[in-house]
């Protein structure tokens, strides 16, 4: 469904991605893990055309998104949903309006239909009675759930999650992971998740890709990654100070 072929990307003199190759199959949950600053978020932004590669291809079902712009790019993006790290909720809108926004802007649904769909979606993320609140009045977990509801409201076939659990307590981390699992089961989307939540995120992953120094160094089932003998992967998963990476 998604194919990243030999993608290079740099910002100024900093080379972030150095020939990344990755394949995401339809309906799977691919989790990308890696150190801070390793290019995970850039990878996610490449997939949706927010960042363009300096070299290489990003294919979304045979369409190279890296070469698209304007309406052609918008048509591809309409199949995506994205949950941003901070939620990216519109401050001037209530929870309800945030979730209703894509429907009101991108569909021809009548207002009663929009209201019914939004209410149903809010209930599915446990925010059925919070529609009137504004983002500034929400806790971190509520913001993430609202952002998830907004990302899913148009029934996208691909959903990108940029660190969906950062800054949440362990119980909420599990709750959000469970929510992703449940909504994935219900809506059947393809998910790409960038996360630091190790090992918890392995519970929801179909496949895990490890990015290090701008390249995918391992790609396999959670089980395969856990059992990898690569010293960097071992150190990263265990969070150990001993290993090839010197943290400070």
């Amino acid at each position: 469904m998604i194919q990243v072929i030999d993608v290079h990307r740099s910002f100024g003199t900093q080379q972030v991605l150095r020939g990344v190759n990755l394949r995401v199959k339809k309906g799977e949950i691919l989790v990308i893990i890696g150190r801070s600053g390793s290019g995970k978020t850039v990878m996610l932004r490449l997939l949706i055309g927010l960042v363009r590669p300096n070299r290489g291809q990003v294919l979304i079902e045979d369409t190279n998104i890296a070469q698209l712009s304007g309406r052609a790019l918008d048509r591809v993006r309409e199949r995506f949903g994205m949950l941003f790290q901070g939620g990216a909720l519109f401050d001037s809108m209530s929870v309800f309006e945030n979730v209703a926004f894509p429907l009101r802007e991108k569909t021809a649904l009548s207002e009663p239909e929009v209201e019914a769909q939004v209410q149903k979606m809010l209930e599915s993320v446990g925010l059925g009675d919070m529609g009137y609140k504004f983002p500034a009045e929400l806790s971190g977990g509520m913001k993430k759930r609202t952002a998830l509801a907004r990302a899913l409201i148009t029934s996208p076939s691909i959903v990108l999650f940029d660190e969906p659990t950062t800054g949440l307590d362990p119980i909420l981390v599990h709750a959000i992971h469970q929510l992703i699992k449940d909504t994935h089961g219900a809506f059947g989307y393809t998910a790409v998740i960038v996360s630091h939540e190790i090992p918890e995120v392995f519970d929801i992953a179909t496949r895990v890709a490890v990015i290090h120094e701008g390249q995918i160094i391992a790609d396999g089932t959670p089980q395969v990654i856990r059992q990898s003998q690569d010293p960097f992967i071992q150190q990263f998963i265990s969070g150990s100070l001993e290993g090839p990476v010197k943290p400070l």
Partner: protein, 255 residues
Amino acid sequence: MLGLLESIGRTAIEWLAGMGRMMTLLLTALFWVFVPPLRLRRVVRQIHFMGWRSLLVVVLTGAFTGMVLGLQGYYTLRKFGATAMLGPAVALSLIREIGPVLCALVVTGRAGSAMAAEIGIMRITDQIDALSVMALNPIKYLISPNIVAGVITLPLLAAIVNVVGIYGGYLVGVQLLGVGQGVYFGEMQDIVSFYDIKIGFLKSLSFGLIISWICCYKGFYTRFGAEGVSKATTEAVVLSSVWILICDYFLTSVL
């Protein structure tokens, strides 16, 4: 020496790139104004924000400016025995020059800064990227309505400043200093022409465009967190104010 040349070259290239980005943003935003759907609700919201919520401060500015013009004008004209010209002096100063400029500077400080800060915060919190991800053009959604609102609002506010200022001058000149009411308004009617009003209108139209363009540009290209928003807001106000004054000079000399 080479380092100095490099530094000058880099600064020049950055400046040119910035000017290019700014012009591209304006042309793109103007293009989207004419492509349906028109974001009328956002335009009205921005007119309310820029216009209605600036009204009190604009009225106060107009009133006191008119009163000062009345006072200064009266004592200056009295030296030449021409106090009958007070009405036209106040009206022409306001309509051709002070009304549009003061109004634009007040709106820049009150609404332009808020516009830059709002869009800047949207940028650093990924809200603008969220619009792109939803396949909505952020320039069409955010900037074009602001430009339309600026172009509509400024002439209206300038008209209000002019009227309030003329009555401020009347209060001082006629009620306090004894210029005849008929003389004040009669001379004004004879001397102020439609052409003067047209000049003021064109100026405020241009200032409306400058404010919304520069403030949106600064907000749209905000970087580096809260400090970036603060910098963008300050730069938006300073740059808009300077451009308003520069543009005022050139419009005055051309029109």
